[in-house]
Structure formats: structure tokens, C-alpha cells
Symmetry: C2
Subunit: 365 residues, 2 copies
């Protein structure tokens, strides 16, 4: 058994944390990339109190509509073609407009006055330098959209919001606030603003504006570098589990696994766990990597991952688990402990990647 | 569009390379982990000339049966419970037996004489130290299985076969060959042997025995450290593609993406590509990482990945692509060039992991 268990109550709890931090803002809950690997069908019911959801592709938007989501859907990279723009209109999707071709499509095909697609998120490049209009092109783009009847939300994206002290944050905030003032003064006082992702919600409470866009924090991971998920009162929404399928004692001097990269310093009780990178557990982890074993007596033990992670199995040190109670035990790769944020540190990445890169193989419960 | 295109003809070609290297051996083609991420349904038709397939879980075995595979299926970690052993019998699955509980189940429930489950792969631990009987326990286990009517294949797994000169190889080969001789002399001359994975097939042609078990080489990646896939005449079976969705010129001094980790030394034409770690492209790649852009004039260009890979997009340097022909261009993340083996080097891992950890999001063609 390789299992992914989703905890909708944790997601609702985390959404409530967002609302407590940003009580005056609408919430666009990010469910792109299959809800950060959690499965959008499993997650949507837990997000009923969000004002909208955010997705990265039209397919993701249509999937959410098919699942019955009838509130705002924000397509955060916008339509990729005029055909996608037409489909967005058909399904009442609100699009980001970040470059000239998208602007042209919007001006060519204007949705009905009561369509959700009449709300557009106009993207301003304040320093991420991936997408968005610049200081010169944004105002005329916004003007033409407003004149065509669109309701506008000015949006941008932080490059370093996880690190409150990074100097780019103040610059991005300043540019965003200045531009929003200009738009409101020169085009319409009704223009809304949306600046903050999860990290911004935590680090820049004075700049929440009309819409916040939480992503990773909904799933229970810490979005900032100086506070843990626990300190932020976020609950992990996924438990990734497997099972011990065999026990063995290796002798001092024996090496384990591919590359023979771990050698027993003494006779060591090891267990084989039915999980590997073929399931989405990262192949490269450092010597701090561990799992929690819940043995057949329902006691929990912290057990080190030893040797190279393989496609279908890992080996762990079960010296601490008494007797033969380890066989058939449940193994937690991430969940309450280790938290996926810890595993990310062991793997030299961030929890977002671990969650997204799960494969089809584990059973989803 | 984020796409995964599978090339069945490449898989058949690679299988034929295996057969040319190991003409006297039966071939157990490994399709575990959803055929190394390629999709088992897409791969099985290309493996019709294999003698059997290998899987890691009973679910994978049953899926292959449902897809109509009627030849040998080898369950390479065996049954995890007696219930799984019974299901293996029901569906004519051949199991590995690597520890005492599996031996007990096999002796308790003996399949019919004409059942494929009467063939068991008895696993000998020759130095991988993950699973298998040891020198003392293997002979009596084999004897009891033989006496109960099972046909035996002695099997083991290399820890370092990718590196021909690693001293453990000679030791594992010696132990395996010695044990096979003992079993044939003391139990039955009909006992078969299976030693070689892809790396062993290439590096140890004199030790192919009765069954070889190719995995990664079927999918077109190099299984050894000193020869490339091209040198081994293997063809990549997957093309992982995306599309350029926006163009931008960043100014000298501008930083791109999360963490602002890439700064333009001069004004640079960049493109946004609709792919990210939410699709399975690795988040951490070094500065050698590149993609191939096939522009709207059907010309190919090698373009560097710049800045941090994000969940839904990457930025590439399209300075070399003339005019505005880059917009809407096809982008190859891996395929013919870069080969997935190259991307694995850029990401500090092996191609196996990249292939297995693809997410649900890309469309499979």
C-alpha cells in the first residue's frame, strides 16, 4: 500500500487562517497543478468559503467548472490563444491579461456585461520579470480595457516575499501601490488591487488590497523562511504513507542499496518500505531524512532513511522499533511528522515541488 | 499545451537492442512505476516480443492483465500479504519470494500445476542488502519450494552494475554463479537464473543466464556511466513538450523569477514557457540546463533555462531565435535534444527519476 490521504478539514482550517490574517480581502484560493498535488476534486469541497479559485491552465479551469465550482475562477496566465479566450468567455472564467496579444483578443471579443469574464486581472511587472505590462504599457492597456467595459483588478507577483527583508519587496510594493493610485485617479476609482500570495499575506499585512491569493499555506506548508507551519498555525493537508514489507539485519560493514552509499557501522535492524521515487518520494535526500513508523502496537518511532532511495523501495533503520513489531507497520513519509517542509529541506527543495511531483501510483484516499 | 508524447517504435527498437545483446536469454521487460512514467497502456503494445513483463506491485500486475497482457508477469517484490499471494494465483502472476513469510504463504497455498504462479523467482541477497535470502537460508528455502512442486528461477540484483569496474560487481556475480551451481547440483538441473538488469545486460554479457530484466534501456536512456544512449543505439521513447506563451525583453541588471537568482548582463530577449515543476520538470537545474525551441519557421534553437523553475512556468533565453518567430513555438524539455539523460545531469539526478515523477497535468499523446 502506497497511499495519499487528504485532510479536507486541515484545508478549511488553513483557509480560515488566511481569512483571519486578511479579514478585509477576498480570497482567491490557488488550486493550480491539481491543487498542489492534492487533487482538485478532493480540495474544492474544503474551499467553499473562498471567494474564488486560481488555476494555471484552461483545462484546470474547465475541470473545476465540471466539478461544480460556480464562483470566480481566475486563470492566472490568461488565455494562450484566441480560441482559449473564447472558451474562457463560454465558461465564465476571469483571465489575467499580461501581454499585447491577450489585450487584442479581449478588445476583439468582449463578453456580455454580466459575464464573469468581464472582470480581468491586468498584470503589472514590478520586478519578477516573467510576465506583465511595464510602466509604459500598462496604463494604456488598462484604459482601453476599461473603455471597452471591463472591470479591472491590478495584479502583480512577488519574487522574494518569503524573505521579508529582501530589498526587492519594498520596491515591488511601491511600484504596485503607485500604479494602482495612478489607475484609480486617471481611469476609475473602482479598479481593484491584488498583490499578495501566501508569503505576502503573512509578511505584508498592510498591503493585502482587495484580493489575496493564498496557495501553499492552504495546504499547510510555511510560505516564509522565518516561521514554521506550526508557528503559523497551519495544518498539513496530506499524509503520504507506505508500509514495511520486510525486515532484515545487516552486518557491520555491509553496504545498502544502489551505489553502496550507506555502510552499516554495526549490525543494524533494517526494514524495507514499499515506496520510492516512482511514487514521488524524492530520490536524493540527505542523511537527516527520516520517516515515522507506527508499529503494530500503535507506537510511533522516528527511523532514518538509509541508502539510496530507489524507484520502488527505500530502506530504513528500525533499530529503535522493538521486536518484530515493525513488519507490516505503517510508514509516514510526510504528514504530521516529518512535515513535508522538513522533507523538502532534506531533499534540497521546497515542499511545493514534493507535493506537485507525486506520481499516479499511490492510492488516493 | 504541455504534452508527453510516447514513441512505441523507439521502445520496440530498444527491445530489439536488448535481444541483440542477449540473444540466448528470455526478456522480462520492466514496466513498473507506470512503465517508468511512460504509461503502461502506451508501452505494452510495443513490447509484444518480450517474453514477460516485470512490475513492482500487485495493482500494476492486475492493470497489465486488464490491458490484455497474457504472457508472464513477474511481481518483483512478491506478494505483500497472503491475500496478495492468493490474488497472484488467481491472475497467474509469477512472484519473487525474498523472505520467510512469502515462503510460508507459497508452501501453504500451492497453485495448480499449470499455473504461471508455479514459477517463482527466489531472491538471493548477493550484496544489495535490501531483500533476499542469505547464503544460509536460500538453499533450504529453494529445496522446500522445489519439493512443493515449484519451478525456480534464482535471481539477485546488482548494486553498482552501471560502473563496470566497481569491485562489488565481481563479488555479486561470483556469489550468484556459485549459488546457482549449488542449487542445480543439489536440487535440480532445471533451475534457471536471472542476474542482469539493463546495466548488467550491457556490462556483463557473459552472465546473462536465462532471463534478463531490462528497464531503463527500453525507454532509451543509458544504463551505464561510460556509454551514452546514442553510443548504445538506444532511442528516447518520450518527448516532453510545451509552448512559448509570451515574449519579453529584460534590461541589463534585471533579475528574473523567484529568488531573483538570474540577472541579465545585457538586454535579453526572453520567453515564457508553459511548463514547470507542477508538470514534472525538475525545480532545481544548473546553469547548463537548456531546451530546444522549434520556431514558427520550423527551425530549431538551443535556448538556456534562466531563473528559477516555477510551478507553472519557466523563462528561457531566446536571443538566438530571430524576430518574433518564437511566440507560440514548440519547446522540447526532453526528447532527442536535450536527451533526458542530459536533463538528469543538469538536475543532479538520473533520468529514471525525471521520467517517473511526471505529474498528471501534461496531456499524454
Amino acid at each position: 500500500m502506497r497511499t495519499i490521504t487528504i485532510k479536507p478539514a486541515a484545508i478549511t482550517h488553513n483557509l480560515n487562517q488566511v481569512k483571519a490574517l486578511a479579514p478585509k480581502s477576498n480570497v482567491l484560493a490557488m488550486v493550480k497543478a491539481n491543487a498542489y498535488g492534492h487533487g482538485v476534486a478532493a480540495v474544492l469541497p474544503a474551499l467553499q468559503q473562498a471567494d474564488g479559485i486560481g488555476v494555471a491552465t484552461l483545462r484546470e479551469a474547465l475541470e473545476a467548472r465540471q466539478l461544480g465550482w460556480d464562483k470566480t475562477i481566475g486563470l492566472i496566465e490568461g488565455a494562450f490563444t484566441i480560441d482559449e479566450w473564447q472558451q474562457a468567455i463560454e465558461h465564465d472564467i476571469s483571465c489575467v491579461i499580461h501581454h499585447a496579444p491577450q489585450l487584442a483578443w479581449a478588445l476583439e471579443q468582449i463578453p456580455a456585461a454580466d459575464s464573469a469574464t468581464r472582470v480581468v486581472w491586468i498584470k503589472y511587472n514590478t520586478g519578477m520579470n516573467r510576465l506583465g505590462f511595464n510602466e509604459q504599457t500598462l496604463v494604456p492597456a488598462a484604459k482601453s480595457l476599461h473603455d471597452a467595459g471591463y472591470q479591472l483588478i491590478l495584479t502583480t507577483h512577488f519574487a522574494n516575499a518569503d524573505d521579508r527583508s529582501h530589498p526587492l519587496n519594498a520596491m515591488q510594493i511601491q511600484r504596485f501601490n503607485d500604479m494602482l493610485s495612478i489607475l484609480r485617479e486617471t481611469i476609475s476609482h473602482d479598479i481593484k488591487g491584488s498583490l499578495c500570495n501566501s508569503a505576502g499575506i503573512v509578511n505584508f499585512p498592510e498591503h493585502h488590497h482587495d484580493w489575496v491569493r493564498p496557495g501553499i499555506m492552504l495546504y499547510g506548508s510555511a510560505p516564509v523562511i522565518d516561521q514554521s507551519a506550526h508557528e503559523l498555525n497551519l495544518q498539513p493537508a496530506m499524509e503520504f504513507g507506505a508500509q514495511i514489507i520486510a525486515l532484515q539485519t545487516v552486518s557491520a560493514g555491509d553496504a545498502i542499496g544502489y551505489g553502496s552509499r550507506w555502510t552499516a557501522e554495526q549490525d543494524t535492524k533494517t526494514a524495507l518500505v514499499s515506496i520510492g521515487y516512482g511514487d514521488g518520494y524524492p530520490r536524493v535526500v540527505n542523511e537527516d531524512a527520516y520517516v515515522t513508523v507506527i508499529d503494530t502496537n500503535n507506537e510511533s518511532y522516528r527511523c532514518a532513511v538509509i541508502g539510496r532511495v530507489a524507484m520502488d523501495m527505500i530502506v530504513i533503520d528500525v533499530s529503535a522499533v522493538p521486536g518484530s513489531s515493525a513488519l507490516n507497520s505503517k510508514v509516514i513519509l510526510w504528514g504530521d511528522a516529518p512535515h513535508v517542509d522538513e522533507v523538502a529541506v532534506h531533499a534540497g527543495t521546497i515542499s511545493y515541488e514534493l507535493l506537485c511531483r507525486l506520481s499516479l501510483r499511490p492510492q488516493r484516499l
